[in-house]
């Protein structure tokens, strides 16, 4: 291929800019032309497309968000939208597409693949819930952002001998809660992948206090329930005045960590390698510490994301 394009779609994630930069730089290095599509699939359908040059991505590696903007665009679920998108790409002479995003973005990439358009998906979502990879772009930054908040909340929790419930993102996945919880020394982690018993939650708080613990921090994945509801339920089991903090969109921003920038760079460059060889229909991942490509149809239809639930047990053993 001689001319490719890149778009970001769905929720933004730190490192998306680093991935775009890698696609652009690697494509130029290989003598290809590269185009950026604004606002994800919405911009694709609308033809909001421009050529990208070396300096367009200068200093982009350190920036959070995505300079190509993102958007949710349910209309792309229709065949009409998809064909319109392919038409736009062809109009610009673009032969292959790199899509960076999460679940919804991948479904778009899958549709393009089924229409025969060479597309490569890069997993970019802080939720880390994409099949075909152990880690997604943005996850490492997000867990460090949450960790930073947990460290701050612990100052207050310790000073006041309090219980805090910290609701974190992750959609239906517990990855953020698990990693941030273990690294933040949270006394309890509540995730969708593991049943929990509120009576036990209450008992552990009491036991911790008896052991001399000055704080109890419970990290709660949003996929289980929201923080205020959890606090109410907990209160039914005794006089537990828990403060609730909902970290919210702060988790999606920030300058990416070293890992996220390296991972994004590896993915971006590798995507260009495949397109250069004319290969599409793939999604990239890092599995067992190696960058790999899988068939996007297989991965989405048969694969599933498996969080590292061994961390759950680890935390119960060392953070109580």
């Amino acid at each position: 291929m001689k001319r490719i394009a890149v778009l970001t779609s769905g929720g933004d994630a730190p490192g998306m800019n680093a991935a775009i930069r890698a696609v652009v730089r690697k494509a130029l290095y290989e003598g290809m032309e590269v185009f950026g599509i604004n606002y994800g699939y919405a911009g694709l359908v609308a033809g909001d497309i421009r050529q990208l040059h070396h300096n367009d991505v200068g200093d982009m590696i350190s920036r959070g968000g995505t300079f190509l903007y993102s958007a949710r665009y349910p209309e792309f679920a229709t065949e009409e939208g998809q064909l319109k998108g392919i038409e736009q790409l062809k109009k610009f002479g673009i032969e292959g597409l790199v899509v960076i995003g999460g679940d919804g973005s991948y479904r778009g990439a899958l549709a393009l693949t089924k229409h025969g358009y060479p597309t490569i998906g890069l997993p970019g979502t802080i939720d880390n819930d994409i099949p075909g990879t152990d880690f997604c772009i943005g996850f490492d930054t997000a867990i460090n952002t949450v960790l930073d908040s947990l460290d701050k909340i612990r100052d207050t929790a310790t000073s006041h001998v309090r219980t805090f419930i910290v609701e974190v993102m992750g959609r239906n996945a517990g990855d953020i809660a698990l990693w941030a919880g273990v690294s933040g020394g949270a006394e309890q982690i509540i995730i969708p992948e593991k049943e929990f018993d509120m009576a036990e939650v209450a008992t552990k708080i009491t036991e911790g206090r008896e052991k001399g613990k000055k704080h109890t921090i419970i990290v709660l994945a949003e996929g289980v329930m929201n923080g205020n509801k959890f606090a109410e339920e907990l209160y039914k089991f005794g006089d537990y005045h828990a403060r609730v903090t909902v970290l919210g969109h702060v988790q999606r921003g920030g300058s990416p960590t070293a890992r996220d920038r390296v991972l994004a760079s590896q993915f971006g460059a590798r995507a260009v390698d495949y397109l250069k060889e004319g290969k599409g229909g793939l999604c990239l991942g890092i599995v067992n510490n190696e960058i790999i490509a899988s068939d996007i149809i297989d991965t989405l239809e048969k694969g599933s994301h498996r969080p590292n639930v061994a961390l759950y047990k680890l935390n119960q053993e060392i953070s109580n």
Copy 2:
């Protein structure tokens, strides 16, 4: 005096530990003995008091929270509680007291002063709402914490062309909202000290978009109303889908900034100077960039906190 004590009370603030450290180190430097009281006025009444030595405050300057713990203790509003506290101090041979905290803490210090017990108040609250000082210990750290969150939220707001309402602390004062809002480049700042008109808020969002702004960030002081209520009200004026982030207790933690550590150190050392000379009944402040002492009775009964509302107008001129 030869023997003094220190306590922290009310909501914790970054830099309280730096202030305690300065009290301890300066007292030892002056040949005095110094005691720490745990859990604020509650510990004072209960006699939870221990001597502090040079190494007890080693490396404390960098830590958030307060290693003497804090507590709200409404019982100290009664004369009985106050006299019990003084009795405990006398039992330990303690001749003067340094109280670090906010509004409620100051009222306790005022009561002790009225009973004739030499007490000095140091303003420690992220809300920055204490009379007698331009800045309180913890405020500088808090505005930088909020700023960090605003920078992160802007990544997402820009990437998605969205409106965000960010609710920040401050009780009835708008200081955090003002300083964080100006420094974060927030399009609008809503504070208790200034009336606002929701129709105008809505108009400005629309105008910003027309100017090509990719994001609208509204920093809302909690003293006005809560973020979700604000979003609902805004929605009445048009199709404004604003995301709400409530930063919460994260704002109260964290390693203190350079300014907060220096200010806390200045306050702590100065408090010891006064107690050494036998002077109590004072509260310290930084006014016009100078460390000063004021009569605590006068200050609390006649003084008032005045936020820098010039920042409000400044922001309207440069951030729209």
Copy 3:
């Protein structure tokens, strides 16, 4: 005035972009046109000048460095260079100039003023060594950057029971060393404004160890001597194996702190106020917590910078 320009010159400082943004936004708010000059006085003389619009400064408030670039340009010390610069400004119809920078930049602004060209200087240098102001743009960020490094070095110093000499910037001023030293809990601070006796430095290290201190951190202002030389001199007084860290240019970068952004915004907007009224020949400062303007000729010819040396004594009392 209807048309003004802004340049940054000399060493860059965090917050310069925030100041440029405030000049641009305030000028537009006042109905004026505003131009940016690239590469400081070099670009002025060369006519590297372009109009700036609302979106040119979007998101600039959070960025370190200066997007107008900076340069040292000794040729501007000649009358020829100065007249050439004024000619360029007139060619573009520019009636007044805002100069953001340190010592050398101010001398350029002084020269333009003496030639009758309306110029306003804003103090922007991490060294904080400009007369007419208590604080310069960039200083607050720099001391927090140094503080962050001191906190990290203390981890290692404590773990290994070591002595560290940390050389910090400041040219001939000790401000960075003083503020970072006090806030970092450095055992000793060595600044140009205070004589020091190496024998005493050595004695204090020994005394600290005897008191049980696990680390000795000496913050050394570059204006005294360089770190390696200091370590050598110290070694003559006994078996002191001090590690040396030279923080270097890291101190000049980074996203500005809340204070630096607010200060820069206040300065930038105020400069436009004066130029709008046709007033030049001024330099702005924050003195006793108030934004003021002084005559630039008086300030540079008679004024002098006075660091807060009270912090020196404070540190000796609380950090030994």
Copy 4:
């Protein structure tokens, strides 16, 4: 086993405290007793040993350095020292030892193993140069610290259109340079594992400027040569005025990242699992994203560390 001990040795690394905490908490969870040895092998030989309880490691997960202190102790290379150490352990009834550290620490663990004492090594060094693992405790934090400095230096480099040489740690390994260089968008990375040609370094700087790059950042691993020497050599190839920054010990400190805390927790808990089963003579690692144990004799005598040099090529393709 019923009673085990833990020590940290060699250069400190962020996450060592998290690893100690995990050893302590997991041992208590398993009903074992656990002892801490101060000052590494020096303290082992001297018998500077104390029991550790649940609260001794409270809040330790977030702290840089090692609260058990570390020391280099060449005397432990002698058989006499080793036997003395084992004698001390037996005196305290300690049946197994966890050693956290780098190269030298592992050699000590190897010696103890050869004497038949059950010992488990955990890789803790920012240099990441230990065989038997892809990543060492502390490496992730160190690369993020370096990255933060690179981002700051880029502000200045861009503002002044300059070349910077940034010397980073790593002993004979290029890992820090590789990861920080790629993530920092450094134009060139110089590591011991790859030959370099100074003429080519010079040519690339010139080419970058011609492409419009505003900065050139060269990340130099200390194992190649020191930064000043490199700058001198470079100058022989043309008028390249490169600034040199030697990041130094800042790289070894700081609160550990989420990854380092999780990795340290996994290692610490796993080490206890093995000792509980009576197994020693192992060193732990994370290989292909899985926690594994290898025979320490085999690993040290036959194994070697292999940095991810694919990153070198990647950087050449996307950062020039």
